[in-house]
Amino acid sequence: MGDECQQARIRKGIFALLLSILFLLPGCLDGDDSGTDGGSQSLSGEITLDIWHTFAAESKEEEVFTNAVKEFEQNNPNVSVEITMVPFGNADQLFMTAAQGGQAPDLMRLSSDQLGAIGEIRVDSLPLLEDLRPHLTPQDRANFEERALEAMRYGEALYGVPASQDCLSLIFNKAIFDSQGIDYPNEDWTHDDLLIAAQQLTYQDVQGLALPVKSAYWWFPIQEGFGGSLFNESGTPTLDSNGSGDAMEWMLDLELDHGVVATGTQIEGMKNQFISSKAAMIIDGPWNWATYESSRLSIGQTILPIVDDTGERMSPLVTYKGWSVSKQSEHKIAAADLAMWLSSATVQKDFALETYTMPTHSQLEDDEDILGDDVIRGFLDQTKLGTPAPTTRAMALVYDPLSTAFEQAYSGISTTENALVLANQELVSQMNDLQQAAPLEPNTGYRTISLEFQLNQSASNYSIYVDGLLHTQFIVSDELGMMNSGYDSCLSNGEETNQLGQIRVLSSTNTNLNCTLTGMIPNVEHNLDVYADGELFYSTTGSTSVSDQRPSAGNTSPVMFALGAIVLSLIALLSYGRWRDQRLNRTNSRLAHAYIAPALLALAVLTFYPVIYGFWLSFTDADQTHLGEQSFIGLSNFWDVITASGFIRVTLFTLVWTVVNVSAHIGIGLFLALLLQRTSIKGKTAYRTLLLLPWAVPSYISVLVWRGMFQPDGFVNDLLGTNIDFLSDPTGAQIVVILVNIWLGVPFMMMSISGALQALPKDMYEAAELDGVIGWDAFRHLTLPNLRSALVPLTLLGFIWTFNMFNVIYLMTDGGPNLYFGEPGQTDILITYVYDVAFREGAYGVAAAWSVIIFLMLLAFSWTYMKQTNATEGSS
């Protein structure tokens, strides 16, 4: 008997050992599958490309784009393209998240200012985007306007192929001008003319101008007109440069002083105002022209006016949108080809003529069809007067400090000058705090072949042909040309040659040439021919076998080890529990612990492990610039959190938010449940159904509807007969988000309490009624004490849920208005601020520390609450 027991124990021990090896084995396997994939780089073989675009759903742009993709697929039968639409507003954030998770698309539509936000981020020490310089030949590059191509560069790297450009311009409703007998705007207009016309055109319910007065993007041209600039020549922020404060004041006064702009006008609102002929003029881009035309408006366009005081014309920021290839793409050559096709003259022309998208292709500069269209020509004139947005990290960061500056000036807590000085300081501080990614090692030889030959001293020009196609041109000239722009390299006599456009300039004294030819296909033999003055001068072949660099899919060993350790711990814990229970005669079941093992395992893997990992992250310097390479830094993150400006304020508002919401949920829920409990009421089912509607509608839709209702032109103002921008006022916004969350949370409490009320014995009330205990007394002495067992857990649950309620605030106000630099917004609660820290600032370690503090707060509250109320104890 004793032997059998011993054998059984040995068998179980072996089984446990095997199980643990099974779980630990994957962790020991080398998870490195970092891509040096040359085989799939060519265009041969079946290829599927994922592409993310940002055109509006079911728009003309999307249609033109889809047709262009279909045409590419027809021309490349081995390539199929899977299209996904992502919203333009947070496309860069979505791409970064996907790329950090190893799920980036092959091709992505990004704007030049978004490249600045992405450029510094690394996965596995590699950037998120492919440097397209080796992919494009000089002839490819020559197809694009030089400043458009430059706008797609971050540092030296070329992160996109420009496909379009756009900027703001002045659009006007001819019918409103005609009705008031005012001349249409023209290029001679000054900003005073604009204001006078806007005042004359503000009558009844029509506003003279539609403009989001608190939006930095709309302020940029006005700042330029007043003599200011965003950055100086060295790239240092100059948000408070001369004239910038006046520009901001002039813009805000359009609403606050002159009343020519409707209160609280935002981007979507101004579009609606213009479409419904409630605004005579709008400062908007070409992207909305088709929408305005389809609204049967008679509209015109002209360039932005000149500022009288400076004589400078308002100069809008020109942003370029193009196609970027992901560093993770397995099919970079095919992706680059698709990017080139989508940026080709054919596709750009279709876009321009069908959707008023401004082209960047140099062949279209003189295109008759393009120039024949007044609208496109007008907007192209405006882009020529615009200022290209710098593709820098500073440009990507500029919007947040400016947003706070606008809120401060708008709400009157600071002058425009002071607000801009503070915004500038904040931006400089943010730039200083930025973690710079380590410089990249070039992947020498990838898609490039080195060609070296001696020059013929009598020739005046040279051309290199690759496989019969013109690749690089050289002229011998005493003109110096421009410094090499860093797209590729051509050394002559050991020095980099200069350029005139994309043509290389050689000196008559040069004797040899050593060029790195870009755009080669790996593992393909290319014919390289050099012509001097049109005569074949030198011929050779060349190939490259250097393969692509791709970030590894992530080393899963630590994760597998952690999971293995969890499983082992569970086995040990359950074995100990079983041994102890048997010893103390707590159970006779041999398999009791095995039954709970699956649930424990699921909890451990899905809940405990992420929580523990979050705890670990809070002690590291995890950051989006070096994800996966974090190191232990002790309690530094916690110190940052506790000393963060605004920590006390956001914590206090979180408490107010939670207490008010939970009190209202319980109070109103209980009140409604008591009303519906009355037997004499008819239509109880109908009432219950209707009162449950907030639950039937997805909460994000309800919240967005409420946000619309609280806009200055929304339902609430319509109903009250007011014109208040509730969400711009700090107190108003706080009240509004609390009210909306109360609206969302009452049905759950009402239903839960209804259930508890129905369980109360009726004879108790009948007996009490005989003793004269009715109404309020019955509620206080019978209902409330008997509901306690339901109300206490509900309150606790409500507290935890509301404390961590993210979507209401995120969707209603996004934490705003932001009145203080570098601090949480006025409606931010802890959980929404953590989101900002993690996904906007990219500081994962600090965000994890915030999360741990939130967890500890909730733990302390729950513990105290349960202790005080004996919530989990049965009545004795």
Binding site: I275, Y687, L690, L693, V705, M709, G714, G721
Partner: protein, 199 residues
Amino acid sequence: MTESRFMRDWYVPVEILTLRSWLVVSFIVHLLLLTVEVLRDDSVSLLLGFIVCILFATLRASLPKIHDQGKRNISLALSALIIGIGIFRLVSSSLSVFDIWMHAWTIIPSSISLWWLSSRAVTVWTSNKLSTSAIEFGLLRNFETIKKHEKFSTHLILIHFVFITVIPLIWISISPFHQEMPWVVKLGIHFQLNISLRY
């Protein structure tokens, strides 16, 4: 004698009982509605709203007791005064649906007060010595009527909550028109469109 006196002291007409709670609700609603006047930045309406609040509180405090003819007369006068102010505010408002609803909270409760305070049951209760049989009849009447009042007030409260609950759904269904016209018109157009599409 003692029993009949006890009954007399105990009996209060249902009108007074209901008014005691309803006037408190009216007072609270008016306090809340003062925020609308603050948002509208209309100092005259705010002042009138504040006066109405005080009048409702005074009316509640001056509801008559048994054999208290004087308080009844004061309550009647206060009710009439509140009706007058309510009508004045309604007429001087923009007569939007919200304004009508808001001023209904002034006019209807005060009108009910006036109606009930001048009713036979209250008049007799405040002026004459009631017989035991009259009190018995009154108690029976109270027992039946108070349920109706409770039902009415419950429905009234629930309808208000239901309206607040369905507001976003109404708005989302009419929002395409929200730039062009007042919301009532939009609602009409919306359903008109729905009907025309269906038939």
